[in-house]
Structure formats: C-alpha cells, structure tokens
C-alpha cells in the first residue's frame, strides 16, 4: 500500500483504542473496524512487548 494510494481516497481504518475515534469515523462514512483491545499479558507492558515480538517473529517466518 503506497502512500499515494492512501492519499487517493478516504482511508479504510482499523481502530485500536478510543471508541470515540471509531464512532466519529463511522459517522463520517469511513469503513472502520474497532478492535475490542485490552492490555495483553494481564497489563504487564514488558511481558506484552516480549509476546508481541515472539508473535511477529513467528509471523514473519511463516510468510517467508
């Protein structure tokens, strides 16, 4: 997805975080999916970052 293509029309958005942002985009007619996000690893940021790293490394390998 090049930047030119992003700028060519309204974005299509995945929203993680403030619900209000998803609702505003939806009201503006923008395709949006809101993620029911909650802190991973019981809210331990260091453990969460480690899990994310492992998850994504696995992900990259599986695609190669």
């Amino acid at each position: 997805m090049t930047l030119e293509r992003l700028l060519a029309g309204p974005p299509k958005v995945i929203n993680l975080g403030l619900e209000a942002f998803a609702l505003e985009l939806q009201a503006a007619g923008v395709p949006v999916v809101h993620v029911d996000w909650r802190p991973p690893a019981g809210g331990d940021p260091r453990l969460a970052a480690l899990l994310a790293k492992l998850d994504d490394e696995g992900d990259e390998e599986s695609r190669q």
């Binding site: 997805m1 090049t2 930047l3 030119e4 293509r5 992003l6 700028l7 060519a8 029309g9 309204p10 974005p11 299509k12 958005v13 995945i14 929203n15 993680l16 975080g17 403030l18 619900e19 209000a20 942002f21 998803a22 609702l23 505003e24 985009l25 939806q26 503006a28 923008v30 395709p31 949006v32 999916v33 809101h34 993620v35 029911d36 996000w37 909650r38 802190p39 991973p40 019981g42 809210g43 331990d44 940021p45 969460a48 970052a49 994310a52 790293k53 998850d55 994504d56 992900d59 990259e60």
Partner: protein
Amino acid sequence: MPVRAVVRAAFYQDSVALMRVAQELRARPGVREAAALMGTPANHELLAAAGLATAETKAAGPGDLVLAVDAETDAAVAAALAAADGLFAARRQALEAAVRVLPRTLDSALRHLPEANLVAISIPGAYAAAEALRALRRGLHIFLFSDNVPLADEVALKREAARRGLLCMGPDCGTAYVGGIGLGFANVVPRGRVGVVAASGTGLQAVASHLAALGEGLSHGIGVGGRDLSTHVGGPMTLFALEALGRDPATALVVLVSKPPDPTVLPRIEGALAGLRKPAVVCCLGAPTREGPGRWVATLEDAAEAAVATIRGQAWHPRAFADPTRVRARLAALGARSDLVLGLYTGGTLAHEAGLLLDPLLGPGRARVLDLGADEFTIGRPHPMLDPEARAARVREAGRDPAVGVILVDLVLGRAAHPDPAAPLAAAIRDARTAAEAAGRSLAAVASVVGTRDDPQGLAGQVAALEAAGAEVLPSNAQAARFAALLLRPDLAPSLLGHSP
C-alpha cells in the same frame, strides 16, 4: 463517611469512557467523590491522594477496572456502584450497535476489513509500539495518537515504516487529515489545495481552521509527531510526507508546522523544501525567520495567511492585529493591568506560540504559560481537550491569586473534543473574575478559539459563551497573546497597533 470500592477483573475501558462514567457518578445525589480507573501504578497514586484507596483497590492490576465511591450514605455508595455497571453496559451496547463487530485483535479485524489501509492507535503508550509494529508488518499505514511511547520505539517504528514505504504518523500525533477525512482531534474543514505536514496536532488544527476562515481548504494534513525533527529521530516522516505532498496533484502549496528542527536535521528539511517544485510556507515556531527555501513565518495564523496569499498570487505582510481599531477601543475600555499574564492552555503548540510572543514583549517573569496537556499534567487522566475540569480549577485558582492580572486561554473545538468546552471554561472565568472583584481586584480574561463554523460545537456559539463570561476573544492565538501583553504594557501600543488614526 463511607468509601467503598469494587474491582472488575480483566475489564478494560478507555480513558474517555472512564472519565465520562466518573463524571456521571460524581453528579449523583449524595456522592462526594468517585473514581473509575484502570489499576495502573499511576492510578493507584491518584486513588490514594483522593482518599479512595482501599484494600480491594490495592490488589487491582493494569487490566482491572477500579470503581471507588465516597458518599454520604451506604445506600448512595451502593446505588452509585450499581449505576456504574449500568453505564458501562450501556456504552458497550451503544458501541456494539454502532460498529456491529468487535474483533479482539488486529489480525481478526483485518479479516473483517481486508481492504484496510490505516490503523489508528490510541491505546496506552506502554502497549502502543507493539501494536504499531504489528500493523506496519501487515503493510498498513499508522496514525499513532498514543503518547508516552519511548523514543527508542519511535525510532524503530519509523525506521520500519520508511523501509516499507509506509507512513507512521506519531507517536503523540493528535490530528491528521487523510483523503479528506479527519483523524483524532480534527476540525471540520473543507478540502482544498493546501497540504500540511505538522509535528503538532493543535498546530495543524489552528492552520486548518484559519485556512477555512479564509475560504481555503486542506488537500491532506499529515501529522508526524512532536519528536520527528529531533536529532534522534532525524525527520524521516517529515521528509517522506513533504515528498508525497510534492508529488500530490491535489496539493498546490505545502505548509510545514513544527518546532525548530534540530540543526543536524535542518539541512535535510531545507533540501526537501528546495526539491518540492511547488511553493512552501514554513512555520517552525521559535526559529528565526530566514530566506528560503520556502517562506518562513513566525505564527500559525501567519502560516495560513501566507499560504492563502501565495496560492491566490496576492502580496502579504504579517500584521499584529486584524482589527487595530477594535483592539484600541477594547484596551481603553479594560484599562491597564499590572503584574502577571498567566496562560492556561490545552494545546501544547498554542502554549508554546504564546510564550514565544509574550516573553520578548513583557520581559522576564511577567508571563507564565502552562501547557496542561503536557505529560506531567495528564498522568492518569484524559487530555484537557476531553476533560476540561483540570483547567477550570486552575482558572478559578487564578481568581484568588493577587499576582495574576490577566489570564490567557485557548479553546480547541473539533470532532472528538469536548462537546461544549466553552461552558465549563466560561463558568470558571466568571467565578475567577467574581472572586477577584470580591478581593478588590480586577482580572482580565483573554481567549482565542481554534475552530470552524462547521465544527460540531459551532465556532460562533463558543465565542459568544466566552464573551458573555467577560472574556476578550481575539481571532487567533497570536493576537490574543499580543492583546494580553498590551494590557500589561500599554506603552507597546504604538509598535503593535501603529499610531492612532
């Protein structure tokens, strides 16, 4: 004096939902204080400071919701806690009705919207980088609203984004406009020919709103986050965005808004501006204006005016006030003040701009400008653009402070901001002025509003509400700061207003 708290384990709510529920609980009969917070270390400190910490709350972790109520009777406490559960359930129902599906992960969301091209992230900063990296690796552009993201993570995210040809707007990106759609705190502005690259959310909002007032609009507004032009980050997203707007056929002119770039980064920015092949206006607040490339201006208002004049092929010169005759009349009506200008701001860049204008006009020690959206004021609570109470309390405090002669405030409208921010600010200004008068003093309030007539709050009504509370409302932040300075230094009038006609 019952205080009771309950913990809902693994029940995450965002900061806006928590703020709204806490506000509704505080408004209930018999309730003295109420809190609805996630059990983070910072929030445990807030609970203790508010006298709301109990044995139950101390066990709550960052993924657990804490509800605590201090009320006059046990019955009032129980009713408030029950009401809180009902309020969260109602919010959830409204959200589910509006968005239909609520996937739990980014990958699951992508299955629902495979054509997605942008991920907007506003989760707490400690978790934001991991989700942002995941989005980049899926080939998605990022709007990263979250603040408190470590600098090293920002460097890594932007390196990854640049490697993949993706945009990483932020961290701490408050506002952006992509393809005519506002993200984050965004004023409702028309589409047009001006493309903005901004290292500041409120800076972008101010320029966009001034452009709208002048009858022009935005092609795109690309936010890059306040640290992009620092030596550590090196300006990768500013350079990427400048290059993209340079190629964009809908963009006739580019405006760059930031603090001064680090000297090690400046040559690269100058190189990009020189290579644009379309006119540019540069507003690096605090940098000495210079001769090209691009037209360098000193204020956000000047950036919009210079852009519009350039596009229309008109001559333009900066001016201190749009309506010097009216300013003269208002100064005469208000009379001179002594002592201190106290700036109480919700917009960081607006605060910075006000300080840059006030200090040289007033000299040392006569102006104090606080950015109440800065990290030190927002730990454990929402940004003051969403939650106006923290600023209202400081305005009232200023009414009791004999050192303060003028309070200077901003008010930022737009989507996702408070639905009626003028009301609590006007009430606080009224109270502060009444308190000052009761003590035999007179307190002046000077304001400016960032907004447009199409914003949900409506610019005219918000201005009228502030004026009804006795505030002087100027058409821009820069003019408001100069007006505040003139109240303390009427001797500056000839240089700022010209000689009386």
